[in-house]
Amino acid sequence: MKLFWYSSPQTFYPLAGTLAKWTGALAVVLMVVGLTIGFFVAPTDAQQGEAYRIIYIHVPAAWMSMFIYVVMAFWAGAGLAFNTRLSAMMARALAPTGALMTFIALWTGSLWGKPTWGTYWVWDARLTSELILLFLYLGFMALQASIDDPRRADRAGAVLALVGVVNIPIIYYSVQWWNTLHQGATIKRSSSIESTMLTGMLVMVLAFWMYSIAASLVRVRCIIREREAL
């Protein structure tokens, strides 16, 4: 097993390039398939009419916003603990894409909230904790950008990222812990969601996964070039 072989930036660099190409291509294909199902196969929602079709980007973006943060904090923590160069670079590469997903989740949620709840924004637990997630990403990036020495910036950012992990279960469980306007989990065992709607949504989730992987890998390659002078 050559797992540790790839933990060096120089050896990971070409692998990241290959992976980015494939995941990028997959993202495009999956988005076309997912949106075709979402707009042309899945029926109109009985309660929300066509407005529900925002689900095909809102849910994937919201899931990715939380998941990317956990992965980012994991790499940041690994960099802090083992002082491995590539870990800190991965954390850096994930942050902008995570911030983007968080913004998309907030934006689409806002546009979904207006027709269904009657308001673009409300200070409830789910929305507020997701907004804090956006500030955590932006804070992580701003903190690292403000420290000139890259290795010190990595460590400072890692501490912030790790402390911020506490927000993830808060977002996730917010719909159970507090009374909120936001609905509960979309996918659960007794899900009542129609099967083509579910399929379209899951394909879009995969598409957003692939997009996020591709974007982060392209960015980590830039960072490797910048910092390792390849």
Binding site: G49, E50, A51, P96, F103, T108, L111
Partner: protein
Amino acid sequence: MSEFFAMGGYAWYVWGSYGMTFLLLLVEIVLLKKRSRETKT
């Protein structure tokens, strides 16, 4: 066709969501391309 774009009266909400999402994804791709070019030289 126009019925499709009207989205049952929810056009602003649906297309506003999709428009912003794909615009931002495009911006990220362009910025990454630019950064790649700059670091390769």
